[in-house]
């Protein structure tokens, strides 16, 4: 059947089961039920500290066919996922599903475990590098399930994604399982993505290289959720975890796009006291913040909050009083970590609080403006950030479709062409975020507004910004690049893209 963004979705997918197609961004909101959690309660004299990862796997009773989870705050510096899978392989356990909030190039060893059948299923919000390529080539037994940050939290809380054992990389942990991310050599700041795992997994193992005396305050994930604690030499490489500084682009095209995006925000009327804002850590997205910073200072505007994965640049704006607070699900650099550690108004949030559409209200619902990227965007404003135009997985939603749905104004900033590839196309290779939740596309050669946003079109008419239709942008792009040939795919489904509400918005095919 065709879903609400016109994608052909099978009723049943082998390895996934019956499929519920995407019906619309807000069609599945309302009464839901959260799942029950199994808890193995502890006696007063029980010790939680175990001697090795292997011992923790055995004590948790991990079996063939079960699901284990990881969080990705250590990003491309993470050692934990690889260490755990090595032990699982050596113990001869097979048919494991890995539910990692994200997977990076550092997780290359996973490819071998996929080939050996140790790992047969993957859930993730973002995958880049060798694992992504292996999945697109059809090596993984079951289709990968690509979720969003909010959608993953939802799936865990509703029991759609049942985690048997959660392995939590803990920059600092005490002997009774209290965890924080702000201290230790692998400090990464907020642990927001790990919180649903800790609360809903049957068993929770904290893996730390900084085991401290009880209690490890401040506490982000508390002892009430943690079954075991394991000390290892290193949970991650600090160089891969955080960058020293996140930098604004120097590329003149990126700067031009950013400047126009800031002018769109101003024209929208949202840039006033109480303004709330989120942007990515990419150079162009961050440059939007730089232009807003100047505007806010000039007009003496005091914002309410900035949210998301947080960079030092956003922290600087916060410290200058341009925002009252920060909601932080993940820190991108050392400055963000330091601020998160020291300033109470730099507030941590869980993945669920951030973007779960099925709780009693997530932070994205309070966002005025969201700045997003795109690998492709089509003339219906559907955005792909999951696959390249060659069909190979190279990312995923992360918070893309959560923030697009929640914010009052979602703006996609991108160059109109990259290399020789047009970014505005007839049909995106993969739909990650439905066009009905995208309001504006800003490119260096023009700005297109979603025709549904008549109010915005009116407001932008009064400016000298280059407003065109998205079809015109597509034409301009193709004038430069030519019309690309259609990439052909195998019929085999290697993955599904789950919208944040759990419906299927698209499927991923094996590349030829």
């Amino acid at each position: 059947m065709k879903n609400a963004v016109g994608r052909e979705i099978p009723d049943n997918i082998e390895g996934i089961g019956k499929v519920k197609p995407y019906e619309g961004a807000f069609k599945n909101i309302g009464a839901i039920e959260k799942t029950k959690v199994k808890v193995s309660s502890k006696l007063p004299n029980e010790d939680k500290v175990l001697s090795s990862i292997r011992e923790s796997i055995i004590k948790c009773g991990l079996k063939d066919g079960q699901t284990i989870s990881f969080h990705h705050h250590l990003r491309n510096g993470d050692h934990v996922l690889n260490m755990v899978l090595k032990e699982i392989d050596e113990l001869g356990i097979k048919d494991i599903t890995v539910a990692a909030s994200s997977i990076f190039p550092v997780h290359q060893p996973l490819v071998e475990y996929i080939k050996k059948g140790v790992v047969t299923g993957i859930y993730a919000n973002y995958i880049s590098g060798p694992v992504a390529e292996a999945i697109s080539l059809g090596l993984l037994k079951k289709p990968v399930v690509m979720q969003s940050h909010g959608g993953r939290a939802r799936a865990i809380e509703e029991g759609d994604l049942h985690i048997d054992v959660a392995f939590i990389a803990a920059p600092t942990c005490d002997t009774y399982g209290n965890i924080n991310g702000v201290d230790g050599r692998a400090a990464c700041g907020s642990l927001g993505y790990a919180i649903p795992d800790a609360m809903y997994a049957d068993k929770v193992v904290a893996i730390t290289d900084n085991l401290v005396d009880y209690p490890a305050c401040p506490i982000e994930i508390s002892q009430e959720y943690v079954d075991y604690v394991v000390k290892v030499d290193s949970i991650g490489d600090p160089n891969g975890i955080v960058s020293g500084t996140t930098k604004i682009t120097k590329d003149p095209v990126g700067l031009k796009i950013a400047k126009m995006a800031a002018q769109v925000i101003k024209a929208s009327g949202l840039l006033k006291d109480g303004f709330s804002f989120q942007t990515g850590a990419g150079g162009t997205s961050l440059a939007v913040a730089a232009y807003l910073r100047d505007m806010m200072k000039k007009e003496n505007i005091k914002g309410s909050f900035a949210s998301g994965g947080v960079t030092g640049y956003i922290v600087e704006m916060f410290e200058e009083g341009l925002f009252d607070s920060i909601f932080d699900v993940q820190c991108f650099d050392l400055k963000a970590i330091e601020s998160y550690r020291n300033d109470k108004r730099h507030q941590g949030m869980s993945a669920s609080m951030y973007g779960n559409p099925h709780n009693k209200g997530c932070v994205v619902n309070n966002l005025d403006v969201m700045i997003l990227g795109a690998t492709e965007i089509d003339t219906d404003f559907n955005v792909n950030v999951t696959t390249g135009s060659n069909g190979i997985i190279m990312g995923g939603s992360g918070g893309h479709n959560d923030t697009a749905a929640g914010s009052k104004l979602s703006i996609v900033v991108t160059q109109l062409t990259k290399g020789r590839l047009p970014i505005v196309v007839d049909k995106v290779t993969t739909v990650t975020t439905p066009g009905e939740t995208i309001d504006v596309l800003v490119t260096e050669r023009g700005i297109a507004v979603n025709p549904n946003r008549k109010d915005l079109i009116e407001k932008l008419k009064g400016t000298n910004l280059p407003i065109v239709t998205i079809d015109e942008l597509k034409k301009t792009a193709e004038e430069l690049t030519g019309v690309p040939e259609k990439v052909e795919f195998d019929d085999k489904i290697v993955g599904v893209v789950e919208y944040r509400d759990g419906t299927i918005i698209d499927v991923l095919k094996k590349v030829k």
Partner: protein
């Protein structure tokens, strides 16, 4: 009215930069075949720039091509190849009267052959030698095609055997000379680029200095410089307000059938009215009104 506040240099042998030259907001782009191109790549840059002009859109930016000096083996070859795709103007480095006359002649031939309107390809002498500076007036007069002059202070100070400084005291005379000759003959006077990209304050001072002497625009070597140049060359709020009052008063006088009128106790004559109109046009183009 076409403004020429900023002229942005773009290297001629870089396809990625040529593709984006027209979207950076510069009033003119100078596609450079001279200093930005290695000796061994002169042939490839010439062909690439020719193709770029033929196929790419430059939107509202004027297309100027800086050819190699006509004294080199590349200069006239550049002119012949590039003129066939009809750029808005050709910039001639180390220009002399003979150079300008020589290029003018070739352009006439090519325009005739290609069926372009006669005189449609303009010329931009680059004044960067002591000889050129002393003879800037006659160089401009050498062809009706000359539409503006660019002062090149790096080569000029080299020719003069003096040191180029950030403060630019040493080029005061050159700026005054170029600006005055240009104003006298009604062509644009474009100031030499500022090379320190990190010193924004000194950059602003430098543009203001050039403007105060009578320069009408400034060359840029980096797209980041464009907004700053436009800001400085934009009319000030007082200038705009005064111009608006002049034009209002003029309308009023017209209605009342008055030939001459005064504002703030001063007689308003044709030059003041023309200046007011120009100010308003500039302000509109800069998005200020």
């Amino acid at each position: 009215m076409k403004l020429r506040r900023s002229m942005l240099f773009m290297p001629g042998n870089n396809p990625g930069m040529l593709q984006n030259a027209g979207i950076l907001g510069a009033d003119s782009v100078i596609l450079d075949l001279e200093d930005a191109v290695a000796l061994t790549e002169k042939d490839s840059a010439r062909i690439l720039v020719r193709n770029a002009i033929k196929t790419l859109r430059f939107y509202n930016s004027e297309i100027v091509v800086r050819v190699n000096p006509l004294s080199t083996e590349f200069g006239y070859e550049d002119v012949k190849e590039i003129a066939q795709v009809k750029p808005d103007a050709i910039m001639v480095p180390k220009a002399t009267e003979e150079d300008i006359e020589g290029v003018d002649k070739i352009l006439c031939e090519i325009e005739e052959k290609m069926g372009f309107e006669k005189g449609s390809i303009k010329l931009f002498p680059l004044i960067e030698t002591a000889y050129g500076l002393e003879n800037v007036y006659t160089i401009i007069e050498a062809s009706k095609r000359v539409t503006g002059v660019l002062l090149g202070a790096e080569d000029l100070t080299n020719d003069l055997g003096i040191k180029r400084t950030k403060k630019g005291k040493e080029i005061f005379y050159a700026r005054s000379k170029v600006a005055t000759s240009c104003r006298a003959l009604g062509v644009d006077a474009i100031d030499t680029p500022f090379t320190d990209l990190d010193d924004r304050e000194a950059f602003i001072k430098d543009i203001k200095k050039a403007k105060s002497i009578g320069m009408t625009g400034k060359a840029a070597i980096n797209p980041r410089q464009i907004d700053t140049i436009h800001d400085v060359f934009a009319p000030s709020e007082e200038e705009i307000e005064y111009a608006q009052r002049v034009l209002e008063k003029m309308e009023e006088a017209k209605r009342d059938g008055l030939g001459v009128f005064s504002l703030d106790g001063k007689m308003v004559d044709a030059p003041i009215i023309n200046r007011a109109k120009t100010t308003i046009e500039k302000a509109k183009l800069a998005g200020l009104i």
